[in-house]
């Protein structure tokens, strides 16, 4: 029979890990990964807690990587030169943002501010590059998924641009 103390610890541990797996599985760039591959990703992601109003990153900061919301809400805010801010989007549980920073260090185009107390996962470029070298098959899977997302966004932007030009 299992010691009940350890059983509780194991249950907590597996529950936390399963939570992360479920969240990751629903993020398009990780959706094609197997359980074993998700386990590798889980080893290099960072889990952070942010209080309401706390900045996750600031507009103009060097881009470092993407964030995935486990629970909570995040405002994506653009600030102009006069310090006035415009909310571009409010992202909730399961949403991800900042994924372009996985590719280069270009400055963030907007700020991410916690709209509520948030539990967030961070997946960062240096770790991704390292993974790409150590586990090329897994890295390429993520890279292709990321390319599809960026391609889809480009397609939509083109469509909107064409519509605007027609007007």
């Amino acid at each position: 029979m299992k010691n009940p103390i350890w059983a509780v610890v194991e249950f907590r541990k597996s529950r936390t890990k399963d939570d992360i797996f479920n969240v990751l599985k629903n993020v398009p760039i990780f959706s094609d990964l197997s359980k074993k591959e998700l386990d590798e990703v889980e080893k290099i992601i960072h889990r952070r807690e942010f209080k309401k109003g706390e900045p996750i990153f600031r507009m103009g900061d060097p881009g470092l990587g993407m964030y995935i919301i486990i629970n909570g809400a995040v405002n994506i805010v653009e600030e102009n030169e006069n310090g006035e801010s415009t909310t571009l989007a409010v992202l909730k549980d399961g949403a991800f943002f900042g994924d372009l920073a996985l590719l280069d260090e270009a400055p963030r185009s907007a700020s991410g501010i916690a709209d509520d107390n948030c539990d967030i996962l961070g997946f960062f470029r240096p770790d991704f590059m390292d993974l790409l070298y150590r586990k090329p098959k897994l890295g390429i899977k993520i890279l292709i998924a990321l390319s599809k997302i960026i391609g889809e966004r480009l397609r939509r932007t083109n469509e909107q641009l064409t519509q605007l030009q027609k007007k």
Binding site: I44, R48, L64
Partner: protein, 360 residues
Amino acid sequence: MDNYSFQLYSKILKLFWRVFLIILGIAVLIVIFPYVRSVVAMFVIALLLAVLLNPVVDFMESKGFNRGLAILITMMLILGVIVFSVSLVIPGIINAVESLTSKLQSDVITDLNKKVEEFFAVNFNNAELARNVTSKVNEIGLKLLSNMAEFFKSVGSILASVAIVPFITFFLIKDIRRFKRSIIAKIPNKYFELSLNIFQKVGKQVGKYIQGQATDAFIVGCLTVIGLFIINLVFDNPVSQFVFIGMIAGVANLIPYLGPVVGAVPALFIAIISNPANLGIVLIWIVITFVLVQIIDNSIVSPMVVSKSVDMHPLTVVIVVIIGGNIAGAIGMLFAVPVTGIIKVTSKEVIWGLKNYKLK
């Protein structure tokens, strides 16, 4: 107390506590350092080994090896090479040092002493001064050699005491990412991205620098061994223990500008002691060998393998080597430049981070 005074008071109190805790922390470190010094030394050696071996392990992992197995294979190979080299080189060196010690007391040095005495008697009309000088030099030489012999005899016990290093190295390589993640997890949100970015960049640059220096030292060592081997072939073995001399030259090369000179001294010294028939020509060829090795190193090897991010002015090198020597003797001189390099890279990245991240 009005609101402003209260805020000021609480700020001063906070600052006071911070300063107090920092001073307390430094004091605790100073008190416990003597007790944990050996552990710190082992950890530093293990960390250096981990940085050197990690690229090999990563490469094997990228080819499908399990990480744990890759570390084991790499460490077994390295340990095999070390044990083989030590068993090959150390007994020879002990013999050489002992035979040199007896040689110093015998004919070669007696002849040399006589010549110096005659030279002083003819040119300065003072044979007594010459006797003083030669006896002092002999004394220092003998002391140095007997210390060296003792040092190599104690290598075995040192090796036994650092047997724990491979275990630390194994876990450092295996769980390096977990350690990094747990350190980063302690950093407040405000500084999280800045710290993570600096941590990664400094880690990468320092790793590259250490790997580059090690590769450079290895190549310089090999080139020196080849050069001295050729001299030995041509001039009937005037430089015994040339493999060990090559190793010294490789390690000494870690100190820019001064290292190559330090590296050449043992070869010249051994050649003078073995006193071959054509000593002058042998010495010239030894100097030519070391100059050639330096030319190849500076024009081909170093630019290819050593990171340029820690380039230092010659004057800076000389100053930090002197300071390193004052702090920790020969080891301090050896580590002065790499440590300064690490500090330089870290400060550069911290300044970059503080300029580019909005921390308000």
